[in-house]
């Protein structure tokens, strides 16, 4: 079996070396991506574990200075959960309806093309610009104060396009036969969409929504301009500055005292854990209900 390869003439040394060289570079590139990831996760876990205690989850920073030990992120965790919930309540219905429009109604119309293009463009809006917009509209024009709700508005702007894209992909995967079967039975279009198309695409949509939630949960920049910073517990998202995990980390990391920096690391650990949890559940949902096609 070895004779054909020799009779055909083996690959010249130069070409072989080049091939190996590129292979080495490609492996190196992958290693270069893994190194920061491992380093980042390792340091977050290592430093974050120091203050991963009951105090951290049960107390706020009210009345504490950066140099003080103790204190925690209770106010920030409450704030983040409330803001993300409000964000989802605002963004998901709008995004779902827009996706339904693009897939079920828009077709090849001019409006659908324009909307689709601007959804792409909207995906690229810098998060700080979303914050500035809410600042200009909600706080400066309508004269409302800093609040968790203002933060949720800015996060919704970032969440809408991602959910539209995810839902759109999923709706496209729904076989046309299902729609036609429903139409043939005389079911009106909107009922077909609500009770046939959307349920079929639901697992995929849930995955998309959860990934989008995980994404906006880590946003800091827009929150700095909309919820501002507070050390106290504020459970009312509609009045007054509210805490959030990302702004908590930002605030604590700006303080050179090691107690504050430790709190920042633990905040980062908690944030990453919540985000990873969302990612994990999203992927499990996606896997459990994988569309089998036909």
């Amino acid at each position: 079996m070895s004779s054909p390869s020799t009779s055909l003439g083996s690959v010249s040394a130069g070409r072989k070396i080049k091939d190996r060289l590129v292979q080495g570079l490609v492996y190196l590139a992958f290693a270069l991506a893994v190194i920061p990831l491992v380093s980042l996760l390792w340091t977050v876990v290592k430093h974050g574990a120091k203050r991963f205690d009951a105090d951290f989850f049960g107390h706020s920073m009210n009345g504490l200075a950066g140099k003080d030990a103790g204190g925690g992120a209770y106010h920030a965790i409450i704030g983040t959960l409330e803001q993300v919930l409000i964000t989802s309540v605002i963004a998901v219905p709008i995004a779902l309806l827009a996706a339904v429009y693009l897939v079920e109604y828009g077709g090849r119309s001019r409006l659908a093309k324009v909307v689709s293009f601007f959804v792409d463009v909207m995906t690229g809006i810098p998060s700080i610009v979303a914050g500035l917009f809410v600042l200009a509209l909600w706080l400066l024009t309508l004269q409302m104060g800093f609040s968790g709700f203002a933060g949720a508005l800015s996060l919704a702007i970032l969440m809408i396009p991602t959910v539209i894209r995810a839902a759109e992909e999923m709706l496209k995967l729904v076989p046309n036969d299902l729609r036609e079967a429903s139409f043939a039975l005389g079911v009106p279009r909107w009922r077909t969409i609500c009770f046939v198309v959307l349920p079929t695409a639901l697992p995929g949509i849930i995955t998309g929504v959860m990934l989008a939630v995980a994404r906006v949960m880590g946003e800091t920049a827009p929150l700095l301009l909309t919820i501002f910073i507070t050390k106290a517990i504020n459970t009312d998202p509609f009045t007054g500055p509210q805490g959030s995990l990302p702004t908590f980390i930002w605030d604590q990391a700006a303080d050179p005292n090691h107690n504050a920096v430790d709190r920042a690391w633990t905040g980062a650990l908690v944030l990453i854990l919540i985000i990873m949890l969302f990612n994990l559940v999203a992927r499990l949902v996606a896997r459990a209900y994988k569309p089998t096609g036909r």
Binding site: A33, T43, Y101, E104, V121, P188, L225, P246, A264
Partner: protein, 326 residues
């Protein structure tokens, strides 16, 4: 949301011809179709509103500005009289994101090739997920890590680069440090790796099987196959992906704000501490901004919005043009 229901009502009214009986299905259809269409229009309305409100709220500050907004290097909007211009911010933004792109693109292409062609097939999905994890890490955590872990290491790297490449003006300067534009670029490069590599990977995996096999059948090595069939096919996709990464890098706020030490004025020595970007400046100066100061920050945000808009539209156009060929 009032605009949305307004659209519903308008659509409903327009179609309701007098004398025609409406079955519940038709009414439901109209309302639902109207709501869907309204949501689509709402997306356009939001984009328009962003532009309108940023311009509107920027105008008073721009009128109070005693320096030239486009050519001044100072950023003192809180002073009386207010003087601010975007030169330093534009310089920092463009240089840091361009450098991040230069660092990230080759690595990202390597990662995409690794996952598409070099890694064991069983592992490739899992390895792709590992790279995507980089995208799931929030920017505030990158900032924290960049400030406390990466920056101390960058001190030595900057000194070496300064000694070896000091003859290039960018790498010159007397006091290379760790909180420089260069360090910010490295953090940005890590942050945009996953977006560039995941799109490139998709594109590479779409290369027609026949092209790959034809190259291999002609006796090409793996690298020659990639050079002859994969890279030419994937080029525009990779360019589009890089531009999306560039847009992301330009708009990145928190990680840069944490890593970079601010110093006034344009400093072309990117290894030296100090610099500023549009986004980072907004996050850092907002806390103590006066009303003119806020207006000035909104004005600078408007410039950033326009720049990223142009970059993203161009990127989408490149990617879309490729789709037509496929």
């Amino acid at each position: 949301m009032s605009s949305q229901s307004g659209v519903d009502a308008a659509v409903g009214a327009r179609h309701r011809a007098p004398g025609r009986r409406l079955s519940t299905g038709q009414a439901g259809d109209r309302i639902f179709a109207g709501a869907a269409r309204g949501s689509g229009i709402l997306v356009l309305a939001i984009m328009a509103a962003i532009a309108v409100f940023l311009v509107w709220k920027a105008i008073p500050a721009l009128q109070a500005n005693k320096a030239n907004f486009l050519t001044s290097q100072d950023w003192n909007p809180n002073a009386t009289p207010a003087k601010f211009g975007i030169v330093q911010l534009a310089f920092g933004t463009v240089v840091s994101s361009a450098l991040a792109l230069i660092i990230a693109t080759p690595v990202a292409i390597g990662i995409a090739l690794f996952i598409a062609f070099y890694s064991p097939r069983k592992l490739s999905a899992g390895l792709g997920y590992v790279v995507d994890l980089l995208a799931a890490v929030p920017s505030i955590v990158y900032g924290l890590w960049g400030l406390l872990v990466l920056a101390p290491h960058m001190d030595g790297v900057s000194k070496i680069l300064n000694t070896v490449l000091g003859w290039i003006p960018f790498f010159g300067g007397d006091s290379p440090g760790k909180n420089s534009i260069f360090t910010a670029s490295v953090v940005l490069a890590i942050m945009i790796l996953p977006i560039i590599s995941s799109i490139s990977r998709e594109v590479f995996l779409q290369v027609p099987r026949a092209n790959v096999e034809a190259a291999l059948a002609l006796g090409a090595t793996r690298w020659e196959m990639i050079r002859l069939s994969v890279l030419p096919y994937g080029r525009s996709g990779v360019i589009g992906a890089s531009m999306l990464g560039l847009g992301r890098a330009m708009g990145e706020t928190i990680a840069v704000a944490m890593v970079l030490t601010f110093a006034p004025g344009v400093n072309v020595h990117i290894l030296e501490d100090g610099g500023n970007t549009f986004a980072a400046n907004i996050a850092k100066s907002f806390g103590e901004a006066t009303s003119t100061g806020r207006g000035a920050l909104i004005a600078s945000g408007l410039v950033l919005f326009v720049i990223t808009l142009v970059v993203n539209m161009a990127a989408r156009a490149v990617v879309a043009r490729r789709k037509e060929f496929v």
